[in-house]
Amino acid sequence: MIRVLVKVLLVIMILFALELPAYGLTSSTELLEDGKKYTGKRIIFQGEAIGDVMKRGSYGWVNLRDEEIAVGVWAPVGMLEKIKYTGDYDHRGDTVEVEGVFSQNCKEHEGEIDIHAESLKIVEAGGKVAHSVDVKKVLVGGALSLLALTLFTVNRIQKRRTVGFVGRGLTK
């Protein structure tokens, strides 16, 4: 009976070890500064999807950026397709949470620092970002363009006069 109980307990422990992440929400700073501690462990990482979702066959890459640094996430294409917006000048990317195994020198990807995602969810949807035109900048830009054009014209006139004088032998 005790043997059976021990076995059941062991199975439960193994299942928990597989299912539960060793660490909760982890930041990129923690991953970089203490990479050895997290390597091979299941972690949760959250950040804005930036740039491109780069599909390579049935898997692909997305870079997630938290407050500090962007980290590469390797995930099945099916998971990556949940991401609708990635961050760039015109967009705020989806905030994505992944749970997966972290490596500071991944063997599969020749020493890459990455997370192999096992689950991925969108925490907050991204969207388009509007950039308003600053009226002050319009005025300053307009004034400077006008000034440049005036100076260009005056410069041309002065140059022509100088060349003219030299051409007619009026100056040395």
């Binding site: 390579r56 063997k107 900048k137 260009f152």
Partner: protein, 501 residues
């Protein structure tokens, strides 16, 4: 020592040519303006309208005020260069600062000098959301600075005044590829544009294959090429080359980094059919040897700590970083913090040596440079021979660089002077960084990276670092790119203004 105080006409000549260079910068700034307009980034385009307007206004004003009938002399040419680089830094920083991606104008100045000097250290905030226009400008500063701000002016100003050659020398270029300087400048641009075409297409295709949308892959390809060939090291995304997670992309950048690290005269020799030169050239042979030795050193350090479990990983990370450091590019396939945290001091030493040595003279790279290493090594051999052989023996030491060259005292003095100046700059920056609270290894690494115009970081360069250190690195990048001589001439000139008679 008797110093002659410069006359008003001297300032006018310097101001006139400074104006011409500033106009060149202004016209170059119109390219990112068009990129912004093409991408419908109206707010970003305005930043460039201001930048272009300001540069052209100052440029034309200088032409108006400083127009003289006098021709530019040698010393004027040498003096224009360092001042022009400072002016380019200030004006180039204007649109970047207006983007709102910098904490202060000093940070924008830092990035602009880093771009023009082809360093690659950056203080930009939230790079991943930067507009195409601003991002292109960052990379274009490297393309302009790599070939030389003055080289552009020489290409545009036809004429053989001796002062133009002074400007050319002042920008740390000594060799004339062709007897005529204007033709030399055009050869530099011809080589650069041929590589721009092939590099952009190669990286575009590799990026597309790696899963990027075609238009973005093209844009990234052009920017990464400019950073690779000009050994600059900026990248369109905050993770540098790590962003692409692609071994093909990494290896596609290597030929362009190496090409940028080779002498333009060597490129010209290869283009004109002298293919054997690459195997005989003392600089390329030295580079091959030092790359092999320093990779062995770095790999030893990485193996000792067991950083990478397998040879492929070690090669992919270690070799790439050595090439990136030795060519002076500064692309990263690891994070900056991983140098001290993962690689450790011994492997960092290999990378630091690679950065400090630099690549070829007359290339887009910085650092001490292979030709000076060859000169010093040959003089060392010469001295040993003098000690061993009888006094009556005639000893001549030669090296092959486009032709057979004899080691002369003038060459040797120049090599020792410039190399000592670099080493002094590296150490000074390291000591200042340590004084300001950073570990010595990290600050020395960063200082070498700045002065040799490399751009690899151990994590010291950040917007939060002290302003004093930002200024120190700006100066290091400036003096390192111009190789000291023109800046010393400028200091001498400033002294003559104050104390001259």
């Amino acid at each position: 020592m008797f110093l002659v105080r410069p006359r008003l006409v001297d300032f006018k000549i310097i101001g006139y040519y400074l104006g011409k260079i500033i106009l060149g910068i202004g016209y170059m700034m119109a390219i990112p303006l068009f990129i912004s307009l093409f991408n419908q980034e109206w707010a970003s385009a305005l930043d460039f309208v201001i930048g272009v307007g300001l540069s052209l206004s100052i440029g034309y004003l200088l032409l108006l005020v400083c127009r003289t009938g006098r021709d530019i002399g040698w010393i004027h040419g040498v003096l224009v260069v360092p001042v022009a680089w400072l002016a380019a830094m200030v004006l180039g920083a204007v649109p970047l600062y207006l983007s709102g991606h910098f904490l202060s104008f000093l940070d924008a100045l830092f990035d602009t000098m880093s771009g023009f000097a082809t360093t690659g250290l950056t203080l930009i905030q939230d790079l991943d959301h930067l507009s195409y226009g601003h991002n292109f400008w960052r990379h274009l500063t490297m393309f302009i600075g790599g070939q030389g701000i003055v080289v552009i002016t020489i290409t545009l100003i036809a004429g053989g005044a001796s002062g133009i050659y002074g400007m050319y020398i002042g920008e740390a270029r000594e060799e004339k590829i062709l007897p005529n300087l204007v033709q030399t400048a055009r050869v530099i641009w011809l080589v650069s544009f041929i590589f721009l075409g092939t590099g952009t297409i190669t990286l575009w295709l590799v990026g597309w294959q790696a899963g990027m949308p075609p238009l973005r892959a093209l844009f990234h390809g052009m920017m990464v090429f400019m950073a690779a060939f000009d050994t600059g090291g900026f990248s369109p995304q905050s993770q540098s080359i790590l962003y692409y997670h692609s071994i093909a992309y990494e290896f596609a950048t290597i030929p362009f980094m190496v090409a940028g690290a080779l002498n333009f005269a060597l490129h010209y020799a290869l283009f004109t059919g002298n293919h054997r030169e690459i195997f005989k050239n003392a600089e390329t042979l030295t580079l091959a040897i030092t790359i092999a030795l320093l990779f062995a050193l770095t790999a030893g350090g990485l193996s000792q700590l067991g950083v990478y479990g397998d040879t492929v990983s070690l090669f992919r990370r270690g070799f790439y970083q050595i090439i990136s450091a030795h060519t002076g590019t500064g692309f990263m396939t690891i994070y900056g913090a991983q140098f001290p945290n993962l690689w450790g001091p011994f492997a960092m030493l290999g990378v630091a040596f690679a950065m400090g040595l630099g690549a070829s003279a007359g290339s887009t790279a910085g650092g001490i440079k292979a030709l000076r290493v060859v000169t010093m090594w040959k003089s060392f051999v010469l001295e040993i021979k003098r000690m061993v052989l009888p006094p009556s023996a005639v000893i001549v030491e030669k090296y092959h660089h486009l032709k057979e060259n004899v080691i002369e005292e003038r060459l040797l003095l120049n090599a020792f002077f410039i190399s000592s100046a670099y080493i002094l700059t590296y150490v000074s920056g390291g000591v200042i960084g340590t004084y300001l609270g950073y570990p010595f290894v990290n600050s020395l690494f960063e200082s070498i990276s700045a002065a040799a115009n490399v751009g690899l970081t151990s994590g010291v360069t950040a917007p939060s670092m002290p302003d004093a250190l930002k200024v120190v690195y700006i100066i290091e990048m400036w003096v390192g790119r111009l190789e000291f001589l023109s800046i010393m001439a400028l200091v001498g000139y400033a002294l003559s203004v104050v104390r001259g008679k």
